[in-house]
Symmetry: C2
């Protein structure tokens, strides 16, 4: 095992700073738009802001088991906002509840992030096998944060189209 | 100066892999949509796909001087696609030319990326002063790639709304 160096700490900090920035943008945008505008489609026939917000909250929640930090805090979100499309006919968790869920999930993620050592960050996440990880060491926990912040940015760009 | 470790190389690879993935998505999406659909607004009254493509190509070009790799290859793009809005009335560089420019710019970026040592990646980019960099060592060249790939994902999410 490598000894952690100053660069290792720096890199974890760079990724977590980028992650925080995306989450802050999501919260700001959600507050700015409000439930009524979020109910609108981001483009004609496309996902609503409400659905995309729920989708992003559900994906953050799914990071808890994926990173080995515990179970889903809001398992019902997966069915509504990941496994089903916007126009599924399912009743959507209201925006205010989603905002509270996001806050609780991010608190749990941040507590675990703060506790994780550099070795843990460069360790494998729970969905990759030890064999595959030996071949592809980029499939580590830190990489999950990179892919999830990119995913968040993608949908934030869409939700931002609801601004007048 | 820290000695480069296996983890250092690994996270440079993680960031460059994420960067490549975004660029590949941009190229695929551009090819899939074609100039006619790209000319449409991503949402009523919002930026067209054509403008956003030009914007992303111009931002990639601007990474060359920012990272100390050389001058802008297509300086005219900055005026049309960064400093001016979509509805500026300026004539837009055609989609096919933008695609060729993107290919040339990315080739130049990738050549320089492949040559850069870990020490260079963790060194300061050209817009941060030595004093500020001493205080904020996260403002390094690798972090520029993280912020730019996030920026690209944001606009890719918008362009993708043009898919039928």
């Amino acid at each position: 095992m490598e000894t952690a160096t100053a660069n290792d700490h720096l890199f974890v900090k760079m990724v977590l700073t980028a992650w925080d920035k995306q989450n802050k943008s999501l919260i700001d945008l959600t507050n700015q738009l409000g439930p009524e505008r979020l109910a609108e489609e981001t483009s004609p026939g496309k996902n609503s802001g409400h659905y995309l917000l729920g989708h992003l909250v559900a994906i953050n929640d799914a990071m808890l088991p994926l990173l080995g930090f515990g179970q889903l805090l809001y398992p019902e979100l997966e069915h509504i906002f990941i496994k089903s499309p916007d126009k599924s006919g399912l009743s959507k968790t209201p925006v205010e509840e989603l905002k509270m869920a996001l806050s609780t999930i991010n608190e749990a993620l941040n507590e675990n992030f703060a506790r994780a050592s550099t070795e843990e960050w460069f360790g494998r996440h729970t969905v990759v096998s030890a064999e595959d990880f030996a071949k592809e060491p980029t499939r580590n926990k830190l990489n999950v944060v990179i892919t999830r912040l990119t995913h968040m940015a993608y949908h934030l760009g869409q939700i931002s189209l609801l601004k007048k």
